[in-house]
Symmetry: C2
Subunit: 251 residues, 2 copies
Amino acid sequence: MPITEGIERVLRRLETRGPLDDGDRAAVRGLPLQPKTLEPAAYLVREGEPPEMCALLLTGFAYRHKVTGDGERQIMSVHMPGEFLDLQNSFLEVADHNVQALTRCEIAGVPVAALRKLAEDHPRVGRAMWIETLVDAAIFREWIVNVGRRDSISRISHLLCEFALRLEAAGLAQDHCYEMPMTQEQIADCTGLTPVHVNRVLKELGRMGLIDRQKRSVSIVHWDRLQQIGDFNTRYLHLEVGGPTNLASAR
Amino acid sequence: MPITEGIERVLRRLETRGPLDDGDRAAVRGLPLQPKTLEPAAYLVREGEPPEMCALLLTGFAYRHKVTGDGERQIMSVHMPGEFLDLQNSFLEVADHNVQALTRCEIAGVPVAALRKLAEDHPRVGRAMWIETLVDAAIFREWIVNVGRRDSISRISHLLCEFALRLEAAGLAQDHCYEMPMTQEQIADCTGLTPVHVNRVLKELGRMGLIDRQKRSVSIVHWDRLQQIGDFNTRYLHLEVGGPTNLASAR
DNA sequence: CTCAGAAGCTAATCCATGTTAGACATTATC
DNA sequence: GATAATGTCTAACATGGATTAGCTTCTGAG
């Protein structure tokens, strides 16, 4: 994907979080960008290292994770094209988690210093980026609930619903049909389950007629029922933040 | 607690996240504050409602939680004096979770509009508040790991360690001894366990000689071992963000 | 075409934690 | 100073999901 297209996509995304003026837009377009392609499993940031670049995800998927003392991985979020990958780390001294490519990714790297300057000189852009991180945090919170208080069927149903909506928002899915970018083992690491059990549950969801799968392609047959079983409510995704309402409330 | 003392405490906290100048400080001191006392279990924000006030916690404890479809509660974070309670909601249209008083609390309410204006007119203050929300998010991420991939002993040990350090940072604990502000049922809601099992684990930690309890007062006898069992690493708390280093890297 | 390595899938067994139900202690209330 | 409400603690039993140990299918490399 051409890098200018990527930046326009990000601009559109930021503008849903709050109004920007021409100067703001020019500043975003003027960011020094360094295009790069990452192979699957390449690290963008490692826990314990100081963040130097903030990446904008142009194509492909990436994820955040930590590894516990006895080697178990927990995935904390999955990111889709159009999202910033490192706002969570860029304003802190040391990264507290890993960010890794899930699939092959095209990214545009921005030096952290440039990003900090952008936020300082253009408060509206800063605010929009801030809101992006708040939405990330809202998703983290929902995942705490998912992993803490739902049983395995609900957890996986919830994840499938979340992916459907976020992929649709990114223009990568329609009619609740999409290509799941993760292996069953990675789904297990998202949901705090074992791969064996993820397999059982996916089979069960198929048997119940709620989803249709072949390989990684998922088609949600009964959205309403899956949503209900997954205790899924879109509110936490904050898909409709911004726009006129937000503009008004900002004054 | 006098409200001016509260605001000075918050200012000090913000200044650890990045340098402020006199104008910034004056703007923070000039915020319209509305003191209020909340009884235990009083709601500050309810899921689904638009946030109107952002509260600064002066004394007491508060927590964020959600309730699942079948009535199970999951606590997502606990807040200590000196912290903002609502930055997570104030810049979004609708609250996606509840914020509730854990103990009796004294708070100072700030209208959301005033806070937004402060962030816009004083980018350094905005940045410090942003970083506060990023640290919240770092704690959310660690809780996903805690609840997703650690067994019950580790989970509770981890929680006890986190509380020790955060309470010490707030000046409410010394030498790893403190008053736990939660019932065992609430600890269960933090860790995704049942109250019965929390009780078992606390007993076990006592039997192992790692902690000493009487009622709610906790004294961590073997910090190193508890930290190890809880797979606890302070990094995610970002206690040392800011200071000279941060100042330098911001230029 | 063949082989190696991923990923998907399955069955048998086990155990960490949940469930249920209640005793006991403390504090607050009338 | 009885009563209720809340929190702590315990035991007996149940179970959801983990563990272990494969087999199968697919894909890509050579």
